[in-house]
């Protein structure tokens, strides 16, 4: 799974974020090549979810920036001011437009419970001006792709957790994003349902989308990831191919984490 196309999809530079006194991100640098699968590992509280949420600007960074295909996310450069050049936050409307290019899959699915499965998947395209009929047609194709073609009229609570997460993936795909972010997509699932969700993500990985996955599934990382990033205490402490990071970790904290997880 060597990436032949080495264009940078996402560039994160010096991502810094504090909640009050607590520094969650301490200046993270990360580059993700287009069409690759990056898995972010790390103990809880290491800042991996915050970093993921910063990529589509659900979290605002205090310092640093995120760029998608060279376009700054959530901010723009403010030049020629007397106070000096700096980054300025965009209007919500602009940010919402940018987010359409970045799919996000939540740990708790966050499907819209009052809408049917089909409406859940077609909602975002319709709100962006796609004709309802076309949006529904596309939604049906996506639902078939995640194996839920027969569930379009059901409401989310009538589905199992694994099915709900597959709908959430179809919903994220509906806008044809360039990048899809997964925030612990299998952590809220019963063990026997993890497989069906991982296999959908695996299929996506093969289709050439850029994926960034925060997960605790080491086996999945080993099998699917092109790059594995290990975070601890708000920093990236190790980064490399799965073979490098998972089989021969050089960093002490990575070794410690893996020995606990794989025990």
């Amino acid at each position: 799974m060597t990436a032949t196309n080495t264009a940078t999809a996402i560039e994160i530079h010096n991502a810094t974020k504090s909640y009050g006194e607590k520094r969650v991100l301490k200046g993270v640098d990360l580059t993700v090549e287009a069409g690759t699968v990056t898995v972010i590992l790390g103990p809880s509280g290491s800042g991996k979810s915050t970093l993921l949420r910063a990529i589509n600007h659900l979290e605002k960074l205090d310092e640093g920036y995120v760029a998608l295909n060279g376009e700054l996310i959530g901010v723009r450069a403010l030049l020629g001011r007397r106070s000096g050049d700096r980054l300025k936050e965009l209007r919500e409307k602009e940010i919402l437009r940018q987010r359409a290019k970045i799919g996000f899959v939540f740990q708790n699915f966050n499907l819209f419970p009052h809408l049917t499965i089909l409406e859940n998947v077609s909602e975002a395209p319709i709100s962006h001006g796609v004709k309802p009929k076309d949006a529904r047609e596309h939604a049906r194709v996506l639902l078939a792709r995640v194996g839920l073609a027969d569930k379009e009229g059901a409401y989310p609570r009538q589905l199992s957790g694994g099915q709900q997460q597959r709908v959430a993936i179809a919903r994220a795909l509906a806008l044809e994003p360039e990048v899809i972010l997964f925030d612990e997509p299998t952590s809220a699932l019963d063990p026997e349902l993890v497989g069906e969700v991982l296999s959908v993500i695996r299929t996506l990985a093969g289709s050439g989308k850029t994926l960034i996955v925060v997960t605790h599934e080491i086996g999945f990382a080993r099998e699917v990831a092109d790059r594995v990033v290990f975070m601890d205490d708000g920093l990236v402490v190790e980064e490399g191919t799965p073979a490098e990071v998972l089989s021969n970790p050089r960093n002490l904290r990575t070794q410690d984490f893996l020995s606990k997880v794989l025990a």
Binding site: N56, L58, E92, K93, L96, R97, Q98, R99, A100, I102, G103, F104, F106, N108, N110, L111, F112, P113, H114, L115, T116, E123, A124, S127, H128, Y155, P156, R157, Q158, R171, A172, L175
Partner: protein, 335 residues
């Protein structure tokens, strides 16, 4: 000391906690007992209380027919009299318009309070504070004296040219009444709407944001429909309160249902009891109608929140009739 004197109950629990089935008198097989259906717990006291309450209710019910002062014949006469119907119409009109206006106004004020704009949220808070503090009757009387306070209303450039008309030519008593009811009702419904919006899971806001859904549509399509599930019961409560609060319009010389009854009561002092009964029955009918509508609206907004909606009372009745028919049909085919 305590260790030595062990009570029998403790001994029994100690024995059973030791594991295995409890000991029964010899010759009785526990497994045999378990073959038969478990006898449910009886509630004899409930039957006694039910009987007592029934006796009391029947006593009161009896007086409705035996006490001639109820004058049911006159209740019948007044019930559909033009004066009463006219009052009813005004009650319905004032309540209906105020209910719609204050719901929409409530959404606006609630959004104001929830907004990140400090001016908007402070203004909304001040509005709610003011109109929740002042009694409705005071608001109404204030409005009806608006002509004294501001003889003309209009717009103009401060210290420049003005365009104005006399206050009472643009604002009829009914309009003023509806404004008064709505002003105070908006303050309450804003808080009802706000509580509903806050009850929507944060994940829903985040999912809508992550999908880049435009802000207005986030509210109208994702947040509000879910909020309505908790808003509807509270807001219907408000409407029922409003229905009865509209009787205060009588004090600003608007003849609503209650006002008409008051007026007729002073014209026909002997009919005061039947007239009060007429008003009571009408208010009961209106509240019942609102409750039925509430049931179906709540059902509508409950879709998706439970795996399967329970059948409506009508559906239950239909199903029961169908099942009775099925059993009688079955009986016929057998015989």
């Amino acid at each position: 000391m305590t260790a030595v004197t062990q009570r029998p109950a403790d001994a029994a629990s100690a024995a059973s906690s030791a594991g295995g089935a409890p000991t029964l008198p010899p010759g009785i097989d526990l497994k045999k007992l378990a073959e038969r259906a478990v006898v449910p717990l009886r509630h004899p006291l409930r039957w006694v209380i039910t009987a007592l309450v029934l006796v009391l209710l029947l006593n009161v019910g009896q007086t409705l027919f035996t006490n001639p002062s109820w004058e049911w014949a006159k209740v019948g006469q007044w019930f559909f009299s033009p004066a009463i119907l006219k009052g009813l119409q005004l009650t319905l009109l004032a309540t209906g318009i105020s209910a719609v206006v204050s719901f929409l106004g409530g959404i606006v004020v609630a959004l104001g309070r929830l907004s990140g704009n400090p001016v908007l949220s402070t203004l909304s808070w001040l509005y709610i504070w003011l109109f929740r503090s002042v009694p409705l009757i005071l608001v109404l009387i204030f409005l009806f004296n608006l002509g004294n306070l501001y003889p003309t209303v209009g717009v103009g450039i401060p210290f420049g040219p003005q365009w104005a008309v006399p206050t009472f030519t643009v604002l009829s008593p009914l309009v003023l009444g509806v404004i008064g009811l709505s002003l105070s009702e908006i303050a309450y419904s804003a808080e009802v709407v706000r509580s509903g919006v806050l009850a929507v899971d944060q994940g829903q806001h985040e999912a809508a944001k992550a999908l880049g859904i435009p802000q207005r549509r986030q509210f109208s399509r994702i947040v509000l429909p879910q909020a309505l599930r908790s808003i509807v019961p509270a807001y219907v409560n408000q409407i029922i309160g409003l229905l009865k609060a509209s009787s205060l319009l009588f004090y600003v010389s608007l003849l609503d249902l209650f006002g008409v009854v008051q007026n007729l009561g002073s014209t026909y002092p002997t009919d005061i009891i039947p007239l009060l009964v007429v008003a009571t029955i009408w208010y009961l009918i209106l509240t019942s109608a609102i409750s039925i509508v509430q049931y179906y609206i709540e059902r509508f907004y409950a879709r998706g929140s439970v795996r399967e909606l329970p059948p409506t009372p009508l559906q239950q009745v239909r199903r029961r009739i169908a099942s009775i028919r099925a059993t009688t049909d079955a009986g016929r085919t057998i015989s």
